[in-house]
Amino acid sequence: MKPRFNDVATVRSGLKNVNYLADDGIAGVVYLADRLGKPVLIEGPAGTGKTQLAKSVAELTGARLIRLQCYEGLDESKALYEWNYKKQLLRIQADKNSDSWSEVHDDIFSKEFLLTRPLLEAITSEDPVVLLIDEVDRVELETEALLLEILSEYQVSIPELGTITAKQIPLVFLTSNNTRELSEALKRRCLYLHVDYPDLEREKEIVLNKVPDISENLADQIARIVRSIRQLDLKKPPSVSETLDWARTLMLLGIETIDADEAKETLHILLKYQTDIAKAAKELSVTK
């Protein structure tokens, strides 16, 4: 199969064109995922652009994004495939008299009666796809096993039909908020990427990129304040999306340069816990 990207630099500039600012690590792993044909497991704090990465890669490669949102209680009938019972029933009733039993039996377990769910859909698709398995840490440990076959072999075994193999190897992204340890078997099959809060320069660029008409000076100040706040010992440090919300708020308020008071008054957009807000407000007004 033809590789999608030529080198790491192409990935990086490509992602930048679709408004996603990747660092070396992110671009490198995406490139590697394509070359080795392996899924990528993305971990990191909430709101650092894990899901967005999958979306951006889909946009970059011009592929369709198929998304499987994980939750507790997800099972194979919702993730892989399901037999269309109603249709099967209709088929049996439609010509009760004519066919022999074995014919009907063969017939109702054919592709026509199969409802494809996201995972099966991703590997049977003719056009290029990017498969996003979102928040994989929410499913139970047992359900994780459902994913193993598709992640390592890109195939799905259906007892009545046989094995369905992928027509083309899709790019697969799994995201996890790290609420529980994923199984070794799953981790072993994936490339691992930890997306952390961006550093000062990258955050500033993200703000400049995503918030229209913001001045360079303000973006710089925002990035600096957010970095200082993240260094505090907080329950929930501000995420990138919260930084962007804050930047937009400041724009709406028509603030050009932030002083301590304005920062304090708008802190509740960055931080979501009362104790965190109090702590940050105290820190910001400290003279030292």
Binding site: L32, L36, K187, Y192, D259
Partner: protein, 482 residues
């Protein structure tokens, strides 16, 4: 093929450091190396990281080992005895001369080697002020060359050289100097917010400079002694294996960071266990209700789910110097998952004892509560040396009646009693009333009952004494507790 040899040595070292690298991951790494050229060091590093390291907490260990194995090795890092600069240095110095020439407006002097220490400090300050990366790197190299006093073959660890270099550079005062200089330079008065931001910026630059120095020292040591020997001396335990009693300040920080995700995972696991526990007795009413959809046949029996009572917890912790860190972590741990218990009460002692539950009640911030415990709790009775006997006696007198058959008592400490009276009858009485009494000891098992440690005497009356030297052991214990 040298890269292959290097890779197998590298992976062996990762395993030695405690990272679980499986065979498939090893093969993946080899595949990855094929498509990413080794010359692109950053991409190469991330490629190896993505295939070999599947846990973010292990990243730092990986980085260190990577640097040792794949740091640029060559003559430029050899430690020359006579201090003769080689080609690389000459080139560097030419660059430096240029920079210096621009900066100070005077002609090129004798290169960097001829600078006085004061000049180096001044240059460093300017570099930090402007955030000039190339300059900082060059200065890191120069300061290591000059101040570390490295000699080939000398069996000294990198920390020693780091200490020597930093002492000469006087980085501790650098921050204040930078702030002062910044204040002078800016035209108008800086607001407190701006000043604070500048300070954070300088701090991060200084930190970056320190790291430059550290990796420079490491590179030189590798060049001198070879990667394998270096990797061994640099081997650091993973965060969950760091011992509470001997953690350095940096390790403490990383422990603290590791603690929160760990507790969150543990809480999720425990909650799940509670919900998906084994089935209880038949729920007759529910079964009959569901039988209606099968025409009155109870085809789908329903069961009651048992709701195991959450235990009540009393934590009694020694917070004297030697075991303070351990007590702090255990308290943080317990309070981070306190909704897994019906009630948590905590007591701390040295030779006197005090209840500290109220500090945790009054604030949501566990860190702050721990600080208040350390500063405000009334734990000194006579001389501030551990006296388990007296502390237990007072505990029994004041709070003994609160222990019920639902209570689990956790005793934390190394049981080094300074040869005071043991009063182990208190523990015996506790064990009679409480559901369980456990003792957690942060000392390695081989040290127990040596010197003034009398953990055996207390332990005889408890339901178990557990070695709790690191986060891994602590987590394992707490999981079994609930």
């Amino acid at each position: 093929m040298p890269v292959l040899d290097l890779m197998s040595g590298f992976i062996a070292e990762l395993r030695n450091a405690g990272l679980p690298v499986s065979l498939t991951e090893n093969l993946d790494a080899m595949e990855a190396v094929k498509v990413i050229p080794i010359e692109d060091r950053e991409a190469f590093k991330y490629a190896l990281g993505a295939t070999l390291v599947k846990n973010n907490a292990h990243w730092r260990v990986f980085e260190t080992i990577f640097e040792v194995y794949f740091s640029l090795r060559g003559p430029e890092y050899a430690i020359t005895k006579d201090g003769q600069p080689d080609d690389f240095w000459r080139e560097m110095q030419e660059q430096m001369d240029q920079v210096k020439g621009q900066g100070e407006g005077k002609g090129s002097g004798g290169g960097m080697d001829s600078l006085t220490p004061e000049e180096i400090t001044a240059m460093l300050m300017r570099a930090l002020m402007s955030g000039d990366q190339a300059m900082m790197r060059a200065l890191a190299k120069q300061s290591v060359q000059r101040f570390a006093g490295m000699e080939p073959g000398r069996p000294v660890g990198g920390t020693y050289y780091l200490y020597r270099t930093l002492r000469n550079l006087d980085l501790d005062n650098m921050l204040q100097k930078l702030i002062d200089a910044n204040r002078e330079m800016s035209k108008q008065e800086l607001t407190s917010l701006e000043e604070r931001l500048e300070k954070d910026e300088f701090e991060s630059r200084i930190e970056q400079f320190k790291q430059e120095i550290e990796s420079e020292i490491r590179r030189r040591l590798v060049a001198d002694r070879g990667a394998e020997a270096m990797a061994k001396t640099l081997r650091k335990p993973l965060p969950e294996d760091v011992e509470f009693m001997h953690a350095s300040r940096d390790e403490m920080q990383s422990l603290k960071k590791a603690l929160y995700p760990l507790t969150r995972k543990l809480a999720a696991r425990l909650a799940r266990k509670r919900r998906h526990g084994r089935k209880g007795p038949l729920d007759f009413r529910n079964t009959v209700r569901h039988s209606l959809s099968y025409g009155g046949v109870p085809a789908d029996p329903k069961f009651r789910y048992p709701r195991p009572a959450k235990p009540e917890l009393m934590v009694v912790a020694d917070i004297s110097g030697s075991v303070a860190a351990f007590a702090r972590f255990t308290l943080m741990f317990v309070y981070a998952i306190q909704n897994q218990f019906s009630k948590v009460r905590s007591f701390v002692f040295i030779d006197g004892i005090d209840e500290v539950t109220k500090y945790f009640k009054s604030t949501e911030d566990i860190g702050e509560a721990i600080n208040r415990v350390n500063t405000e709790a009334d734990v000194v009775w006579v001389d501030g040396h551990s006296d388990y006997g007296h502390a237990f006696e007072v505990f029994w007198e004041r709070y003994g009646k609160d222990i019920t058959s639902k209570t689990t008592v956790l005793l934390l400490g190394d049981a080094r009693n300074n040869y005071h009276a043991a009063q182990s009858w208190v523990v015996k009485e506790m064990a009679k009333r409480a559901r369980h009494v456990y003792w957690l000891n942060p000392e390695p098992k081989s040290y127990w009952n040596t010197g003034d440690s009398i953990v055996g005497e207390y332990g005889a009356h408890t339901d178990g004494v557990f070695e709790c030297r690191n986060l891994r052991q602590l987590e394992g214990f707490v999981e079994n507790l609930t």
